[in-house]
């Protein structure tokens, strides 16, 4: 009897140990040595609470950024002489792994809260009225680069598909399995452009062929490339980096 209870408690003990070890390993990603030193007085539970507070603050910052966002404030535009050369390639994979999209069979799928759910071929998209911009792309890492993109104003495209512009989000799925989503006010901003060209040439594969949503009022990772599907929704769609802890709104 005594032995049994001792075995049970040992068993409990090692289970707790394993659970706590797993938690600690999980926490190592979010909390470096510095934070652990600072929080050495707290137990693991409190560190999970720290993570919860940080996520809650990030959601709060989403809201604040929505309030700060001025739909009439334009991102600065630059002369073409200021374009960064070479424009940096950036993705969660190397340049050689960028997706290869066949332009002849390509169709942009449109779903969600829209009137017209028909898919769009590239020739159809190229026929839409085109605008150009020379703007600064700012990466969440800190660097920035100026580029020139051309395509159809996204607000114009949303109007053509009969999107419910009172919905909260537009979500994107990409050929490289990347995904992201933006708020509707940003989607309707005049400089938010569904672009097919970079420096007046068809968007090369490394910059997002066949299309990149260019949003100069958001950080680079909020500008999806290789888009194959978009949808209008009221359900928060998240994003590839956003779900890992990067701030969702990430507005400039």
């Amino acid at each position: 009897m005594k032995r049994k209870s001792m075995a049970t408690s040992l068993d409990d003990f090692s289970r707790r140990e394993i659970a706590s070890l797993e938690r600690r390993l999980f926490m190592q990603r979010g909390l470096s040595l510095g934070a652990l030193t600072m929080l050495s007085g707290c137990d693991v539970t409190n560190q999970e609470n720290v993570q919860k507070v940080l996520w809650a603050m990030s959601r709060w910052n989403d809201r604040v950024q929505g309030w700060i966002f001025d739909p009439d404030q334009l991102a600065p535009e630059f002369p073409e002489s200021r374009i960064t050369q070479p424009f940096p390639f950036n993705a969660f994979y190397s340049m050689s792994e960028a997706p290869v999209v066949d332009p002849t069979s390509y169709k942009l799928e449109v779903t969600g809260l829209v009137r017209d759910r028909k898919s769009w071929t590239l020739p159809e998209l190229y026929e839409l009225p085109q605008v150009s911009q020379v703007t600064r792309h700012i990466c969440v890492e800190g660097w920035s680069a100026i580029g020139k993109w051309s395509g159809v104003r996204f607000s114009e495209f949303l109007q053509r598909i009969g999107a419910d512009t009172t919905a909260k989000y537009v979500g994107f799925k990409c050929a490289d399995d990347y995904y992201t989503s933006i708020d509707m006010p940003t989607a309707l901003h005049p400089q938010t452009v569904l672009t097919f060209r970079f420096r007046d040439r068809i968007l090369p594969r490394e910059y997002g062929f066949p299309m990149k949503l260019r949003i100069p009022t958001k950080l680079g990772f909020k500008n999806p490339k290789h888009i194959v599907a978009l949808f209008v929704t009221n359900d928060y769609p998240g994003g590839y980096w956003e779900d890992q802890g990067y701030n969702w709104y990430s507005g400039s």
């Binding site: 190592q28 990603r29 979010g30 909390l31 470096s32 040595l33 510095g34 934070a35 600072m38 507070v53 940080l54 996520w55 603050m57 990030s58 910052n61 950024q65 700060i68 966002f69 001025d70 404030q73 334009l74 991102a75 600065p76 600064r136 700012i138 990466c139 969440v140 890492e141 800190g142 660097w143 920035s144 100069p216 009022t217 980096w241 890992q244 802890g245 990067y246 701030n247 507005g251 400039s252």
Partner: protein, 206 residues
Amino acid sequence: MSNQWNYVRVHPLIVRITHWISAFSIFIMVFSGWRIYNADPFLGFRFPDAWTLGGWLAGALQWHFAAMWLLALSGLVYVGYGIVSGHLWRKLMPLTPAAVLRDFRDALRGKLSHADLTVYNAAQRAAYLAVIILLVVLILSGLVLWKPVQFQGLGMLMGDYEGARYVHFFAMAGVVFFVVVHVVMVLLVPRTFPSMLTGRVRTRAS
């Protein structure tokens, strides 16, 4: 001579509270900021990862953008109180370059007197004023980095987005330098430390 002690209140409660909240948030801002800098070390060096907070870029950004509220709010309360009550003016003025130079020279020679902790010498006044200005510059350049499009007017004062990165970095370096000197001074004159907790300094009654 009497054995009586007099207690003089030098730091009002609101100053003590905002001092420690600011200190805590500056600690978070600096160490998470170093991690963010490391994601694109534009000055050609990296901070050792062990000296940084957040574990990776996203974690560091979460810390940075959470603690910024603490720093901005406690800074706002401190400066607002300091101006309205006259505390800032009383403690930091008058301040002349000649007096700062004189006290700074004395301090380096170890001749600066700290007998009366109720009054700041000119070197202290200059340092405290400088760190307040540096923190204001940090917050303003931070706003430009966070929202370069929405605050582009402010950004133009510091060379746009790329200029603001340098302003933000060097203002941080200034604050870190202040903190190091500040802590060394507290270690050299340890009697100053409890006063930032209790608000009082002890002077011998005469």
